[in-house]
């Protein structure tokens, strides 16, 4: 049962941090699409005080800066998706965020919650990881910037302190010749989260992959950056041979597990190879598109 006794809607970060510090039984809530269900279903220890982040202006900002997009941690996903720069400069994030839940869920769910909930295959988190997003944290000691993976301690376990708040994600702008893509495979039965997902960002240099980042989930206790696979691809032309090598590297470095009623490890291994190839191809093709125009017509199949 959800039995909080106090519910705060602070207007500023300072206010929110102050409540978190003074009340040891308090916890932040953004959309609540993870937290409230866990509370209701008894999968989370009761929380006495909820600190709602939705009224804090700083966490609601979407800004295109010189080098990066500033995406407020508490911006509802539908706003992230509807914002043209997301499509144009962070296409993988656009795709991932469009696929989370239905419209009603996306109208409240946030990227901050998606990351802080710490599932290894959360769609938003996988896309952010492929895009090399930095996390801006507000803590009682002040603000700090850290890489995304520093937020993770284990499956479903965040490394964030109870008194720390994700303020925003800084997502580097994909420049000309750079593009990203996200894909996932679902199962029509059971919980509507991906049985395997994968995000790719790459820079094309002539016919070669100049630089690349790959994130995949679930492939370990936390969202997985496939460094060895990236290495196998960097500087290579996109040929069948390269793809074979990359697939080998991915299967060697990632850990796939069987989840009962969801997928066996073998199936995940199989899907990982397919997702790698398809997502890579899509991102590769996008490097040659006029993304500004393309972004307008981009749509995602649920």
């Amino acid at each position: 049962m959800s039995t909080w006794t106090s519910y705060y809607l602070p207007q500023t970060l300072a206010e929110a941090l102050a409540i978190l510090q003074t009340d040891p039984h308090s916890k932040v809530i953004a959309g609540g699409t993870d937290l409230l269900l866990e509370l209701q279903q008894g999968r989370h220890a009761p929380v006495r005080t909820l600190v709602d982040l939705s009224a804090i202006a700083e966490l609601q900002k979407l800004e295109q800066r010189k080098e990066a997009l500033w995406i407020g941690a508490a911006v509802p996903l539908n706003r992230v998706v509807a914002w043209q720069p997301t499509r144009q400069f962070a296409t993988a994030l656009f795709e991932a965020a469009s696929l989370i839940g239905g419209p009603q869920v996306r109208n409240v769910a946030t990227l901050g919650g998606n990351v802080a909930h710490a599932l290894p295959a959360a769609d938003g988190a996988i896309a952010l990881l492929a895009l090399d997003a930095q996390v801006i944290l507000a803590t009682p000691e002040g603000q700090r910037v850290q890489p995304l993976l520093a937020c993770y301690a284990g499956p479903g376990k965040t490394a964030l302190q109870r008194t720390e708040i994700i303020v925003a994600f800084l997502v580097p702008l994909s420049q000309s010749g750079e593009a990203s893509a996200f894909r996932r495979v679902m199962r029509p039965q059971g919980v509507a989260i991906a049985i395997q997902n994968l995000g790719v960002w790459l820079r094309r240099e002539d016919d070669c992959i100049g630089d690349i980042r790959i994130a995949i989930g679930p492939a370990g206790p936390v969202p997985f950056r496939a460094h060895q696979t990236e290495e196998a691809l960097r500087g290579k032309p996109l040929t069948e041979e390269t793809l074979d090598e990359a697939e080998k590297a991915l299967l060697a470095e990632a850990r796939f597990r069987t989840s009962p009623h969801r997928a066996t490890a073998e199936y995940r291994v199989h899907l990982a190879g397919i997702l790698l190839r398809q997502t890579l191809q899509t991102a590769w093709q996008r490097t040659q598109m006029d993304l500004e125009k393309e972004a307008v017509s981009l749509s995602v199949k649920g």
Binding site: M1, P103, Q104, N107, V185, M186, R187
Partner: protein
């Protein structure tokens, strides 16, 4: 805090842990917002906050501070002014059928009874203020409203879409409604309603409703009918789209307590110790009862009374949902807290996890008579001879999963002791008279002391035939003397109520090289779970239908209906035939493949037709439309895919996608049959205001029976359906309509209503004849008037005249179905069968194994399409449920423990899975049916699953023999091939 709700400023303080849905429903009385899951899964609770749709079940009330909330109740008023939108055209699909103008809602006194009537304009003042939004009107006009439980959520979500996007594409509508589930699943009608409303809002003409074309049996004379066969809105539609419809959980009584049930949560054990003292002592708890406190019979059940109301100390727990104690408290929260204070100790026993294990001699015995509920046998001809004559013999074993009805409205009962010492039960139930009997037994009372006041039902599909909370609520109300509400949450609903039987079905089939079947042998194991429920009946239907709608000279079927420690299994749309049709129709395709005969041709060769003898020895004398159904679907297939619909095609530009069609047929009995006495009663009364009322206890679960009854009575009096009111599901006020099951209500209660209307008409004519001294034959009833000797008397006048003469303008009729014979005795086991053919096109991704259903063509022999708009809903919803059964639905129980105990884990098809649907209604009338009609509700869904799995085989060569389709298995098998 302050917030704006539907334009009104509201001051309330949020309570601890309160969600917006509860604030709206419980404290502001806005019960139009529904709760289907409280898991952010179903969308029923959708409201708009500052114009944005959100799920109010998981939206903290406190967050709404300062915001503006729009609920379904606020939508009707939000229509700017009159005359801004063009009115929909009167629609006349059939020449004689005129669709009335969407109805203004009038204030109609409507007690807590489930009375359905087309509201008549009464209060002009109110009407002017209150007019429906075009979305609400179009939902009605397009027949998108069935049980209605999801409709507020659908409309609010669609409203938000249209605010931002006045001209949405079909894809955009689907995206918007992606997570707003409808289990009645008239998704195509919903899309069309939204499109039509969008057109009106843009100042364009609305779209006409889509209904299936009707194909009549050749050479049958068509009776001339005025109302039957026309498009009519549901009589309860205005309430359902405006949020004023009351479902059980929407009711409140002064002093009402809230109940909860302590469930065993262990699948097989002996209850050793039970301590409820701490719970009793909790402030706010009014009563805690255990098995020892039951005044009457300790068990309930529908056929066999084997289901303990509560398990007592020293007694056996047989599944996780067994009750051990019940609590009533001032609030639901307190009742829930009290549950945690109840201490129960169990001695665990070996769990019987499946029916095959249950039949082994060393398996633990769950009931006094062992684990075998029933061995069901079908015998026809001589199997040895049949297989000796065969030129090919195939044998294969199939498995089907447990599935859940997942009706959108979770179970709710309210028991209320009355001052005259009776007990009222407010509940949406498929069998009100069975509820009455079971509650009365538990209280140790005569049946008449219990009054079931039937409520609107947010879907049933067979899952609201058994007792859910009715008895527990009554016991607590009896003990406390106060009204008690017992509402299941989705979790409890999934754990407790009977499911669809999981089966294992082995089929051995012999045939000549020319395709003629010589013998079919089937062996079924049915998992009936912990208690009998309707298990024996369901599995009898599975067994008798297990050799398919074919003329088979030698047939033998054996079914073992076994008790296990799984949740009970009972009635579920299809009633066992869903399972056996999957097996036999898969086998037919395997046979076609082996013999290199076209699968459609193979079915034609063997199809039942007039004169055929079924496997139970019944000679079919009429109304066998199977060949017509096959031909219609074959023709449509040919148009789309030429001569080779069953060969795989690669999707252009996407070499990993394969498409193919699959085909299947089915049949399903109407009515109880098998020698069970089957009757239904109805009563028709004429009132002095000129309205007719038809009354029966039969259940309206969203399927549209009320519209059918309204139309039948209107037909008999040659007047518009608005002149007829329908009252159902009340054991004091309505005569027994029998169970709403086995697709029997249109036929049974339809007939009862028709004959009651005819008797009333004759009685009225006789009285008038006497009074005016004319021959009764000269008196006619037309358009609300009695025509006597050149005069026209309004019906209201007629009622007055009859009453003045000291008589009641009322007639009742008890309709007895044509006699049937028990299984094994030959003769007519059923008085009618419905038939169907369907084709499905699938696309399979050979890399990932993912399957999608692109299109379904369906032709259903319904005898007579009484209510085409309602039929469309059944056609669409039936196909969607078939898709769910094939692709998405899997109720998982592991060693007696339910894994799928949340809606998030049990997936029903969303609008995203809706294929293109082309449906035909085929009319091969049944002589004894009302205007020729027979059952519809189940047949529509039965062939869909095998049509899909056959299509998968045709696309990628993988034979699905276990449901639901597992995409991982598809990939694995493709790799092995």
């Amino acid at each position: 805090m302050e917030l704006i709700v539907n334009g009104n400023r509201v001051e309330v303080e949020p309570q601890h842990g309160e969600m917006l849905a509860h604030l709206l429903r419980e404290r502001l009385g806005l019960t139009g917002t529904k709760i289907g899951c409280e898991e952010a899964e179903c969308g029923a609770c959708t409201v708009l906050i500052d114009g944005v749709p959100v799920l109010s079940c998981t939206y903290p009330a406190a967050r709404a501070a300062g915001k503006s909330v729009l609920t379904i109740e606020g939508l009707a008023f939000s229509r700017p002014s009159d005359g801004e939108y063009p009115h929909p055209l009167p629609f006349s699909q059939k020449e004689r059928g005129e669709y009335p103008h969407p109805l203004p809602l009038s204030q109609r006194e409507r007690g807590e009874k489930a009375s359905f009537s087309t509201p008549l304009p009464q209060n002009k003042e109110y009407e002017r203020e209150f007019s429906l939004h075009p979305l609400q009107e179009e939902f009605i006009r397009h027949g998108a409203v069935q049980c209605g439980f999801c409709i507020p959520g659908q409309i609010m979500t669609a409203y938000a879409l249209l605010q931002n996007n006045p001209n949405p594409s079909e894809a955009e509508i689907r995206q918007a409604l992606k997570d707003t589930l409808c289990r009645c699943a008239g998704y195509p009608s919903i899309v069309r309603a939204v499109q039509s409303a969008a057109r009106r809002l843009r100042g364009e003409e609305p779209l006409p409703p889509l209904v299936a074309p009707v194909v009549s049996e050749q050479g049958k004379p068509q009776p001339s009918l005025q109302v039957i066969g026309t498009l009519q809105p549901r009589p309860d539609a205005v309430e359902k789209v405006s949020g004023t419809a009351k479902f059980t959980d929407d009711l409140k009584f002064p002093g009402m307590l809230h109940a909860r049930v302590k469930r065993a949560m262990v699948p097989h054990a002996i209850l050793k110790r039970l301590d409820v003292e701490k719970a009793r002592a909790l402030p706010g708890v009014a009563a805690v009862l255990t098995a020892a406190d039951i005044p009457g019979e300790k068990n309930h059940g529908l056929v066999i009374f084997d289901w303990p109301i509560m398990v007592g100390i020293g007694e056996r727990v047989r599944y996780v949902g067994d009750a051990v104690a019940i609590v009533a408290a001032e609030t639901r929260q307190i009742a829930t807290q009290a549950l945690d204070l109840i201490e129960a100790e169990y001695e665990p026993l070996e769990v019987v996890a499946d029916p095959v294990r249950a039949r082994q001699p060393d398996a633990p015995q769950l009931h006094p008579n062992g684990n075998l509920l029933k061995h069901i046998k079908v015998r026809k001809g001589d199997m040895e001879q049949g297989f000796a004559e065969a030129e090919v013999i195939l044998e294969h074993t199939f498995h089907t999963a447990i599935t859940d009805h997942a009706f959108m409205e979770p179970e709710c009962s309210i028991a209320r002791p009355t001052e005259d010492g009776r007990m009222e039960i407010y509940v949406g139930s498929q069998i009100p008279y069975a509820d009455r009997n079971q509650v009365a037994r538990a209280l140790g009372w005569p049946d008449e002391r219990v009054h079931i006041v039937g409520q609107l039902m947010g879907g049933g599909f067979g899952g609201k035939e058994d007792i859910a909370g009715q008895i527990h609520a009554a016991l607590l109300a009896h003990a406390t003397g106060r009204p008690v509400k017992l509402l299941f949450d989705r979790h409890e609903s999934l754990l407790v109520h009977p499911k669809r039987h999981a089966t294992q079905i082995r089929v051995k089939m012999g045939a000549k090289r020319n395709g003629r079947l010589t013998a079919v042998e089937t062996e079924l194991y049915g998992d009936t779970g912990a208690y009998a429920s309707l298990g024996e009946k369901v599995l009898t239907r599975a067994t008798t239908h297990s050799s398919g709608p074919y003329e088979v000279p030698h047939a033998r079927a054996d079914c073992y209906a076994m008790y296990t420690n799984n949740p009970p299994a009972g009635a579920f749309r299809g009633f066992g035939v869903t399972q056996s049709a999957f097996a036999i129709e898969s086998m037919m395709d395997m046979l076609a493949h082996t013999l290199r005969i076209d699968p459609i041709e193979l079915r034609r060769i063997n199809a039942l037709r007039v004169g055929s003898v079924t496997n139970t020895g019944q000679v079919l004398r009429e109304s066998v439309g199977l060949l017509d159904c096959i031909d219609i679907v074959a023709q449509e297939l040919k148009q789309r895919a030429g001569d080779h619909p069953f060969t795989p095609r690669v999707v252009e530009g996407q070499p990993h996608l394969r498409r193919a069609w699959g085909f299947a047929v089915a049949y399903k009995n109407t009515g109880l049959g098998g020698g069970a006495p089957d009757k239904a009663s109805a009563e028709v009364e004429l009132f002095e205001n000129g309205l007719l009322e038809v009354r029966t206890s039969s259940a309206e679960l969203g399927q549209g029976l009320v519209t059918v009854l309204q139309m039948i009575v209107a037909e008999e009096f040659a007047l518009q359906p608005e002149g007829v009111r329908v009252l159902v599901m009340d054991t004091d006020l309505t005569p027994d309509g029998g169970p709403t099951t086995a697709s029997r209500q249109t036929f049974m209660t339809g007939n009862a209503a028709r004959y009651a209307a005819q008797s009333l008409r004759q009685a009225l004519a006789a009285s008038l004849a006497e009074k005016f001294d004319v021959a009764p034959e000269r008196i006619r009833f037309v358009e609300g008037l009695a025509q006597v000797n050149g005069h026209s008397l309004p019906l209201g006048e007629v009622a007055k005249i009859i009453r003045q003469e000291g008589r009641l303008p009322k007639a009742s009729y008890e309709y007895w179905a044509p006699k049937t014979q028990p299984l094994g005795t030959g003769g007519d086991m059923h008085f009618a069968f419905s038939f169907a053919a369907q084709a499905a096109e699938v696309e399979v991704n050979i890399l990932t194994g993912e399957v999608s259903v692109l299109e379904v063509i369906s032709a259903i022999d319904v005898g007579k399409a009484i209510n085409p708009l309602g039929l469309q809903g059944q056609f669409e919803g039936g196909i969607m449920m078939g898709i769910g059964n094939a692709i998405t639905e899997h109720f998982i129980v592991e060693n007696g423990i339910v894994f799928t105990d949340r809606l998030a884990r049990y997936r029903m098809p969303s609008i995203m899975l809706t294929p293109k649907i082309t449906a035909y209604a085929v009319e091969h009338p049944v002589e004894a049916g009302p205007y020729g009609a027979k059952g519809v509700g189940e047949i529509v869904s039965i062939p869909t699953t095998p049509a899909i799995t056959n299509a998968i085989y045709n696309a990628v060569g993988v034979r699905i023999d276990r449901l639901p389709v597992d995409q991982e298995v598809i990939v694995r098998e493709i790799a092995h091939a």
